[in-house]
Assembly symmetry: C2
Homo-oligomer: 219 residues x 2
DNA sequence: ATGAATTATAAGGCATGCCTTACAAATCGA
DNA sequence: TCGATTTGTAAGGCATGCCTTATAATTCAT
């Protein structure tokens, strides 16, 4: 298997496994890549043969030791390049993910580590995802879970679709911004209302589907 | 054909055509890539079919209009990344070429142009090769051609092999450095003797094979 | 002008990584 | 527990881009 293919699969598994112990079903990978189930199944078997993942039939895949290390390396590269693209090249943050997807496979470990030094060893990508070996904060909660009146700081947008990123930027709900929940909209209409705190007097109505993807550190 | 493959071939043709009108023989490409003549021939035919090159049987290939434009874009990306790697990441210049070879296919036009801006629109790669649309200086001459006693400034190392680049760096014969020819060694022993000018009192004996690859702007 | 070297072309092969169709097995909800 | 849904497996296909072997055509130097 080509290294790039391996890396793409490992990166996908890493992203999709919410819990370290929960195997990622092949259906998730099928959906993630847009490949046929048969193709994914084939690749997963090869990945297992080569020791990258453990495959539990009818349950899904988990990363092996080497697989985890490789996945972390890939995600590290990806997110470092995202930082470079947004911070140094001023690429819009909704384009950074895709552009970094190509660069992550092209850069060697040496180049990546030099890039990390150049960038000042950042801890997170522009969308707030931790750059391995940095790990996800345990206290992070979803915007949907924040009680009315509570304040919090935006820490991450995930999953990061271009459209959602553009909206989040327009709402000024980007990592580091503070907000307070003004009111909870009707869950049926799928709208929640929030107000960014203090310095900026802005009130935005965030559709439920996007509020689900905005993660916070409570104040 | 995959775009990356096309770009590699066009880049090779661009580099190998000394004169715009002289077709590049397939044997040069065979040698450049280390592929079999048959494989190169196959690819060249496909490139011709798709309009990237003109193929003159038994003579070689020349770039078409679109092929030339594409080749220039590739070389531009390549050399901009080389500049980034050496200038911003402090990657040794003999490693920059290889590392850039992967990045050049991964970066989009938009990213490349932002990179150019970030780097301050450089005119040449770290090894002195012009970054398109910049063109090669016509007054450039080879170290072998410089008369004894004449002074000149190093402008370029080409062809750039890692070993040669390491030697050139050790000799401090890098683009921008001034030198004067002290004496001409015996061509049979393939050694020429030069002395870097003024500020640094250094005398080095440059083997003929490497002197052939050091290009100068006469003082 | 002829023979050696170069170049072209034909034919068949191989690994990769996708695809579809078809069918079997396991899981899970009602 | 039974049937629908999900998941696994087998079989065959396809494009890419390399490879080797073998043979034909051309070029070039003597």
């Amino acid at each position: 298997m080509r290294q790039e293919r391996v890396e793409e699969y490992l990166g996908a598994v890493y992203r999709l496994r919410e819990d370290a112990d929960a195997p990622v079903p092949l259906s998730r990978l099928t959906e993630y890549f847009g490949f046929s189930p048969v193709s994914v199944h084939e690749m997963v078997q090869k990945l297992e043969e080569e020791g990258w993942v453990h495959y539990h039939p009818y349950r899904g895949v988990t990363l092996s030791g080497v697989g985890l290390a490789a996945a972390m390396a890939v995600l590290r590269r990806h997110r470092l390049w995202e930082r470079f693209l947004t911070d140094k090249l001023a690429l819009p943050w909704d384009e950074a993910h895709e552009a970094a997807g190509d660069l992550e496979h092209a850069a060697t470990e040496e180049v990546t580590e030099r890039l990390a030094t150049f960038l000042g060893e950042p801890d997170a990508c522009p969308h707030g995802a931790p750059i391995p070996p940095q790990v996800q904060s345990a206290s992070e909660i979803c915007l949907c879970s924040l009680p009315v009146g509570a304040e919090a700081r935006v820490s991450r947008i995930a999953p990061e679709t271009p459209e959602r990123l553009r909206l989040a930027a327009a709402w000024q709900l980007t990592p580091g911004r503070d907000l307070r929940v003004l009111a909870q909209g009707d869950a049926a209409t799928e709208v929640l209302v929030y107000r960014a705190a203090a310095e900026m007097e802005r009130t935005v109505a965030v559709p439920f589907e996007h509020a689900q993807a905005i993660w916070l550190e409570p104040a």
